[in-house]
């Protein structure tokens, strides 16, 4: 069977590791030519070297110049762009009243401003290439209050709103824009801060995992997020636009 993304060129930001890497791998497996972009050039190259047909381009998504250049280089190298996945993001727990503006901006400049820049400069290239899809990597924290990550949650809520507006504005030009909202996924970003969450919330050690088990059954995997990202980038989701695509093991379905 032919791949679902045969002949498409895709940019995935923050793709050196974690969810971005899994998406890059899944897209390549479906026939796409993937640009592995990351602020860490060495890791981006390392990741790209293990993915058939992939190349690496370093990019700090906080920089308008670098995002522009990422898109320009991709088009120059591959002749077009059909899929943009603004995935780069960071997160770490900080109590709201201990959060200074610098910390707020450190997270929102990557997680929200970065997505804006990827849409702002990615969409024209997609339109010029005859249309395609933008798949924003959002989070279920966009939909509910999440203690200790006010900056992360607010940025993700912003990404959901951007998804909606971009979907409506770009529809007539053949660009679909949707958002993937994962629950807690087994990534370094999550596992590295479990202990901090437990300390700051006064939980006994190990309770974070118990809360996850209660709310979403288990942690999701990066591969599961990648499969949703494939669906949304492919023609199989051709009538979906501007919507949140939750994968959270049932977390958001329950009030309790």
């Amino acid at each position: 069977m032919a791949g679902l993304l045969e002949g498409k060129v895709a940019i995935v930001t923050g793709a050196a590791k974690g969810i971005g890497k899994a998406i890059a791998e899944a897209y390549a497996a479906q026939g796409a030519t993937v640009v592995v972009s990351d602020i860490d050039e060495g890791m981006a190259k390392e990741t790209a070297s293990r993915i058939p047909g992939a190349s690496a381009i370093a990019c700090d998504v906080r920089s308008e110049e670098q995002v522009k250049s990422l898109v320009d280089q991709t088009v120059a190298q591959h002749g077009g762009l059909q899929i943009m996945v603004p995935n780069a993001g960071i997160g770490r727990p900080v109590p709201l009243l201990g959060m200074d503006y610098e910390e707020w901006r450190a997270v929102t400049s990557i997680n929200l401003d970065g997505v804006f820049l990827c849409i702002r400069y990615g969409a024209p290239a997609i339109i010029a290439s005859g249309g395609g899809a933008i798949v924003n990597i959002c989070s279920i924290t966009a939909q509910a209050g999440t203690p200790l990550i006010a900056h992360y949650s607010a940025a993700k809520a912003g990404v959901m709103s951007l998804t909606q507006t971009a979907a409506v504005e770009l529809r007539a030009q053949g660009v679909r824009v949707n958002a993937v909202l994962p629950g807690f996924i087994e990534t370094e970003m999550v596992t590295s801060v479990k202990g901090d969450f437990e300390r700051m919330l006064g939980f006994p050690e190990g309770q974070f995992d118990q809360v996850i088990a209660m709310k979403q059954g288990r942690y999701g995997t990066t591969e599961e997020v990648a499969k949703m990202a494939v669906f949304l980038a492919s023609d199989r989701s051709s009538f979906s636009n501007g919507s949140p695509f939750v994968l959270d093991g049932g977390c958001r379905a329950s009030l309790l």
Partner: protein
């Protein structure tokens, strides 16, 4: 991706419209399909048209015995049931307070109770883990729309039933999700076009083009159902997945 090789599926309301498109795509992806429909003749015609891996049975989704029989027939014919699609539904399109009590009750019986009974019947046969239920809700289950009062209420009911069932059944490894399409090119939408045009005062097709870009196709809905029925969506449960061309995303 989304291959359904060897899966055994039951699709209610599968004789026509969305249900037929779902059955057709499932077959294309390698599944065997039991079409359950209150229109027995229509179900048989569709089953014949879709080929050897499709069977038909009469089923009134307001009757638990009919749904239990449909599940049993799926197991008898195909050796099991892996995917239940509760798709059967009806519409009433008129101002809310012009709807009769009988119309309201009948719609709730089919659209809400039918999904409850369908899920319950399927759970007796679905494998644990691995069984999947996909319920046909609607964008009308996530937002209000004039003329669709009882329909909106019923589809919101389907979304909520999906959420609760998904969370309650999670420990068994059975996943349950809902699909929420906007206006799709089906006989149902053909029926409501002149009513909406008359009451809203804007030609239906213009309204649809403005709000959702275009009218969606049954095949597009079927793709979403196939994704949710497949292992590709293994971390999705209790979700309501929208396909509406951007309707819900837009304020204006």
């Amino acid at each position: 991706m989304a291959e359904l090789e060897g899966k055994r599926a039951l699709v209610t309301g599968g004789a026509q419209g969305l249900g037929k498109a779902i059955a057709a795509l499932f077959v294309e992806r390698g599944a065997k399909v039991m079409i359950a429909d209150i229109d027995e003749a229509g179900a048989k015609v569709t089953a014949d048209e879709l080929g050897e891996s499709v069977r038909a049975i009469r089923c009134d989704v307001t009757q638990s015995s009919d749904l239990e029989a449909a599940v049993q027939a799926t197991v008898d014919n195909f050796g099991g049931l892996d995917i239940m699609v509760n798709n059967a539904g009806i519409e009433v399109v008129k101002p809310l307070f012009h709807q009769t009590e009988e119309e309201f009750s009948r719609l709730m019986d089919i659209n809400v109770k039918g999904v409850f009974l369908g899920m319950r019947a399927a759970l007796a046969a679905l494998p644990q883990p691995g069984g999947v239920i996909v319920n046909m809700a609607s964008l009308a289950g996530l937002g209000g729309a004039p003329l669709f009062g009882s329909y909106c209420a019923s589809k919101a009911g389907v979304v909520q039933l999906t959420r609760v069932a998904a969370v309650e059944m999670r420990p068994t490894g059975i996943r349950i999700n809902a699909v929420c399409p906007a206006f799709i090119a089906t006989a149902m939408v053909d029926r409501l076009k002149p009513i909406v045009t008359e009451v809203v005062g804007v030609p239906f097709d213009d309204l649809a083009a403005l709000k959702q870009g275009r009218i969606g196709t049954p095949e597009e809905v079927a793709e979403m159902v196939a994704f949710l029925a497949s292992d590709d969506s293994s971390f999705c449960t209790g979700g309501a997945y929208v396909l509406d061309g951007g309707l819900q995303a837009a304020m204006l």
